[in-house]
Symmetry: C4
Subunit: 269 residues, 4 copies
């Protein structure tokens, strides 16, 4: 009887495909909307999944997600996960696409690198060449028309930003999965683009999601009904107006309230 400690794999990722037979996809572009500040990327991707009526491809579980289960409204529970859906080219879309959404990002930096590798491994099975991540550019102020910023792994992509009404970033960093996915994609010979929707950082911001999704759709040549997202964006607008009004009321007395100041710099998540 061996009484020594024995080793177990430590960082574990568990990919569960919906079926053993993978769908036939033609170099689909991969579009990722992780949960993050303002849920800017996730709301956009969830809208796209819904409107494209995308199919479930695989669930990704990871020991680096928060150690907890989520309870659904019907009382049934499950582990936190990321999920990849797919949609084939159609009237709406000139390309096959993979769409990633999820409950969480990993809780350790090294695991973020590894999850990014795992996601790209899945995309590589389908010969994906182009990867997009949808992030937030956090500014600390509310704005009427959220701008969309961009960075990419290739100067050819960056050159197309201006015609798509995307502002090219020329410094700074993008932290977390939205950055790593495209940084590692570049190492693997794929092209990566990160779009960042301007958001205050104070609210779940469907308005920024709408801005970023509009730019993305023009880049990837997909058309979807935007009504439901526009409705959510209006809800966000009302929420922001309500917050601004409360702040303004507290600020009677002349001092410019903090939330409405123009920031010098923002940070990007």
């Amino acid at each position: 009887m061996n009484l020594n400690f024995v080793s177990l794999p430590q960082t574990t990722i568990n990919v569960v495909y919906s079926s053993v037979d993978l769908p036939q996809l033609q170099s689909p572009c991969l579009i990722c909307g992780f949960p993050g500040t303002g849920y800017v990327g996730k709301i956009a991707i969830d809208h796209l999944i819904q409107e494209l009526n995308a199919k479930h491809l695989a669930d990704i579980y990871s020991a680096s997600f928060p150690p907890q289960i989520i309870i659904r409204p019907d009382g049934v529970t499950e582990l936190m996960k990321n999920t990849i859906f797919y949609s084939k080219a159609s009237v709406s879309s000139s390309n096959d696409v993979l769409l990633l959404t999820g409950d969480s990002q990993p809780i350790s930096p090294e695991s973020e690198y590894l999850l990014a590798e795992q996601i790209l491994d899945i995309a590589a099975k389908f010969n994906t060449k182009k990867v997009f991540t949808l992030a937030a550019s956090v500014t600390g102020v509310f704005v009427d028309k959220p701008r969309v910023f961009g960075t990419a792994t290739d100067s050819d992509i960056v050159k197309t930003f201006s015609e798509k009404n995307i502002l090219t970033m020329d410094s700074g960093i993008v932290v977390g999965m939205n950055g790593l996915i495209i940084g590692i994609a570049k190492l693997r010979g794929m092209q990566g683009t990160c779009l960042l929707g301007e958001t205050s950082g104070y609210v779940v911001d469907a308005k920024a999601s709408k801005s970023i999704l509009e730019r993305l759709l023009s880049v990837v040549d997909i058309k979807v009904d935007m009504n439901k997202l526009e409705k959510k964006a209006k809800d966000t607008e009302r929420l922001i107006q309500s917050v601004q009004q409360q702040v303004a009321e507290k600020a009677v007395g002349g001092q410019q309230p903090g939330l409405l100041r123009k920031p010098d710099i923002g940070y990007i998540a």
Copy 2:
């Protein structure tokens, strides 16, 4: 002579069985009572182990338990561990059962996933189909009759909660081993149920343990003498009354003392 650093296994779990020959068990359900808030689950499981006169199956040591040894009253010491006992079907119990208790939960999130896998590996040796975890629902207030909440991996189980006087949770999360064990069980084709006993979070709460054990026993069809646990529950009740009295005395002057306020939300551990 190789002077390079060489690798050692990092996360290590060491399972030591009492004997080489494993007992013959018929798809025992696995019931887990980890140490946690109020020791709600652990007190319940320890009572069950005692009353069923359960046999020792295996000790589980892990490099992710706190790096320390525990000294027993006789001066003898040992590593922290989890232990699994078993009990065969009998007059008291219509099923074979595996019962898990322990000194500690792992101290890192990734290790929690791995310990959960390891525990389920052991249960899988006996063809376990059903897994139960006993947790605490921390409310911050003392109550006369602790309620018992539940969530499960299958809607069929959730549907049985009301007839067992278990309140179905419809949102939120369960963190730690109590959540992960059933979340991972689901991925492995087992059914998982988590019961949560309402507790203040301020005291070791045998009263909540008694509530949760009563519900569990009706679900798994086991009968045990509850006298010793009822005695402990009475001790808890006296402790709570003493605490409440002290708080009330300090609160003379009209302000409602914090401990007795009705909370809007609780958290679950």
Copy 3:
């Protein structure tokens, strides 16, 4: 050209033996003096190494030691390490012994388990049956005659404590390498004893080292000249008197100074 990230071993321990041919030792007992509170154990072991004129066996490097190099008085530098010496049975000692000293303990809990395994692997090469760790029992007060406490993996050992003037601990924990080494030794069929010298926790305490070494020597049947350690113990005594005087002077006005209070409980490291 493979552009994927490739794996490297993560937790690495590097054992460098002085020579390829290991010495012939007869089930030497292993005595460990890690750096810790008051350097109680390390000072004792270093005295033993010096007085037994012990020979160098192996250096143990670990990626879990603090990431730094130590500069010696001659300007030469090296990595942090643990070192094992050995001494054969002689007039002074009825047994062969392995003696462990070091610059550091690991900086992560899991690495403590793994270093303990590695140290016991080395001892197992020589068929070691008995393991001793020298720790501190931190009390927060200065005492004239530091007591020595003990715990062990076997009740047979605990029963011998009283005749050796060692106080048996009957509760609590021992954290860190001093605990893990004997806890894991037990799992591997060795016997482990941890002795803990009472110390204030405020000074490097050679007086506690002397107390603990005296008890250890009577247990393992080794005789060494204690002069140099007694001299260091006197230095500690003078340091303590100086600290106490300063505290007393500040305390004029009636309040009992904190350092001299009798604590209800101590903690053990």
Copy 4:
């Protein structure tokens, strides 16, 4: 379909060489300038790379670098990395050299050990015998002429310090990659030297970089044009004068401003 969690490599380092055919180098010395306090080492190494017109050898990516991408002025982005350049012996240099620069040091201690191993693995491919790291000795005060301190893995090297105007350190530690690289080099039979430029710790300090590079060049027998670095050093000098003036103005009233005090001890990074 296997539903168990499967393991992935955890700590991953990815070395991407510029070409499959490695250059022919004759036991090049390896000189490392990691980013750190005041960028003392990095500025020195970047100057050397530029003036020697060094060629790109390899990029080193690591999952232990901060999980982020860096955006360049042209909008193109990439992962954080370390890079090794090489330069062959010439009129300027009597030896082949490897030059390491980078965006970041690893964010966990264990990963620092592993990156150091990886860098030395690359150097070992070229039969490197001598390794140099350029660090900062942080003093908290501004000085006119930054001194350069040194420590090494062999007393033969230490003995040469005085003739090179390098002050021998006789105690203390060097933390991080600058220490580990030479500490591990020693274990692998290479000779290591760490030079440390005196710096305040308050500014990016090209003046300290110039001091350290001058000493290094005399040790490794390389000659390069120092004009561009001298210009940067002058910029640093002006910055320091400006800071000192501001501090002095605030200190009118007699109290010696903190930044100009002579510190008792410094720390080394």
